[in-house]
């Protein structure tokens, strides 16, 4: 591992100022960053330890939602009684990720910003546009079991691996950011992420020094909340496909629908056209198939990940059937 300076600033403001220098990184739980530093995929010269900043609270907001400090651990968030009661989709998604021991360390901010699990990104011996811009993408034409089929580009087909972020996308969470100028801004989670395009190494809209201080959950939307994760092993594996669904019914028809998908795209994926197609309709296998058609209309697959189209189709149909059954 490359040598670095270690700093532990006393305040969030001091942390953002310390990081705005080039080649500095924040470390929170360290479960992703430290691993990437060992492989010298991340080579910060300065490491700014934010793990002891007082950003570990969960508090109700005036709007009737909750503010989750960036350093709340995935374990604490999943176990929080209000989260379990009002946002079960989030609690389930968290518990479907990693293992108990990792969740004790992993933080809310770090989870949003964890990097892809693409095998080639992790292997410095192979070309990768994300790791080394312009070197090429080894995944295209290579092993692609875990790769994306939506929102990709000819330069990168990596997925975003988070489960938590998929649930937060369905909940329309916002991200609170403190910049090195001392200003705080709040952006929709969807605007935190960038699709790869021809710059797959730029993954977020954050500028150097920007510190995520909290995730804001709006009041829980009406409807039944579900999270379903399909993976190669029943525990302790990343999603091949996951679906977060929040579905409300009135008089036998779907009155509100929010769907977000993991394992399919470079960011937690939401498609409002799919949701619009469901609203006002009575649930039926034909409707669910039409929703899947819409979702997958722009899918681009490789040999190794072509299975994800039918898998997403079946998973979506099954989740929608469960969410609609006896829910009116």
């Amino acid at each position: 591992m490359r040598a670095f300076d270690y700093q532990r600033p006393e305040s969030a403001e001091a942390a953002t100022r310390a990081q705005s220098g080039a080649e500095a990184r924040f470390i929170a739980g360290g479960t992703n960053l430290l691993d990437l530093m060992k492989l010298e995929i991340e080579t910060p010269r300065t490491l700014i330890d934010i793990s002891r900043l007082p950003l570990d609270g969960i508090a109700p907001t005036e709007a009737g939602g909750f503010s989750i400090g960036a350093l709340v651990t995935n374990a604490a968030l999943a176990a929080d009684p209000s989260v379990r009661r009002l946002y079960p989709v989030l609690s389930r998604a968290l518990l479907a990720g990693a293992s108990g021991q990792l969740r004790n360390k992993a933080t809310t901010g770090g989870n949003l910003l964890q990097r892809t699990r693409c095998y080639y990104f992790y292997n410095p011996a192979t070309p990768c546009n994300k790791r080394e811009p312009g070197s090429g993408c080894s995944a295209i034409g290579g092993h692609t079991r875990i790769h994306a089929i939506l929102g990709t580009s000819p330069h990168c087909i990596a997925t975003h691996p988070s489960d938590m972020a998929v649930a937060m996308m369905a909940l329309e969470a916002e991200v609170e950011i403190l910049g090195p100028d001392g200003q705080t801004r709040t952006i929709p989670l969807a605007d935190l992420y960038r699709l790869p395009g021809d710059t797959p190494h730029i993954e977020t809209s954050l500028a150097p020094g920007d510190l995520i201080t909290a995730v804001i959950l709006p009041p829980p939307p009406p409807g039944r909340q579900l999270y379903r994760k399909v993976r190669d092993r029943a525990s302790y594996a990343f999603a091949l496909v996951s679906v977060a669904a929040i579905i409300a019914m009135e008089n036998g028809r779907i009155s509100a629908a929010r769907l977000a998908f993991g394992g399919l795209a470079p960011m937690p994926w939401r498609d409002r056209e799919v949701e619009a197609l469901l609203i006002g309709e009575a649930p039926s296998p034909a409707l669910f198939a039409a929703a899947a058609d819409r979702l997958l209309a722009t899918a681009r697959t490789e040999d190794g990940n072509a299975f994800k189209s039918p898998l997403a189709r079946r998973t979506l149909a099954s989740v929608l059937a469960t969410a609609c059954a006896g829910n009116s």
Binding site: R2, I27, G30, D49, A98, G100, Q101, L102
Partner: protein, 171 residues
């Protein structure tokens, strides 16, 4: 960089580079080789230590981040040299180990579980060790060992039962 750590109840000061993981520090600086280096990427759990009682992967943490925590390694579990604690003993008795590579991590994960849950279900036990990989036992005997340890710890903590004293009175 100089760091003050509290390991198995003892205060120690180590001089390490910031890039030294807690795992390397515990093994190489402190000579506590019972914490095992397996994958070193957070996957296997062989490097588990307790930080303030919580099982944590020492390979995914820098030693310079560990000041102020009570660190417990497998060496800190036995009541004194040459003895085993209840969980260690149960692992031996129930054949909860073969090669022993995963065992320190398993025992510490079990200890954390049994500290917060005296009567864990099999599901609780599975969940508690789900981040610790064992290539030998197939897990069945590890689960039995933890159940046996739980039973014995409950016995130790229970007040002398009246029915027992009655039997003794009869005798």
């Amino acid at each position: 960089m100089s760091v003050e750590l509290k390991v198995n109840g003892r205060a120690v000061t180590v001089d390490v580079e910031p890039r030294t993981t807690l795992l390397d520090c515990v093994r190489d600086e402190l000579g506590l080789k019972g914490t095992h280096a397996g994958c070193e990427h957070g996957v296997c759990g062989a490097c588990t230590v307790l930080l303030d009682g919580q099982p944590t992967r020492s390979c995914l943490m820098f030693a310079v981040q560990a000041d102020g925590y009570e660190i417990t390694t497998i060496e800190g579990v036995a009541p004194q040299a040459g003895e085993l604690d209840v969980i260690q003993d149960a692992f031996c008795e129930a054949h909860g180990l073969q090669c022993g590579f995963c065992t320190s991590g398993m025992i510490l994960a079990a200890r954390s579980l049994l500290e917060r849950e005296a009567s864990p279900t099999v599901e609780d036990i599975r969940e508690a060790i789900s981040g610790n990989i064992c290539r030998c036992t197939g897990y069945g005997q590890i689960i039995e060992a933890i159940q046996l340890a739980a039973e014995r710890m409950r016995g130790q903590n229970a007040p002398a039962s009246p029915s027992l004293s009655r039997t003794e009175a009869v005798r």
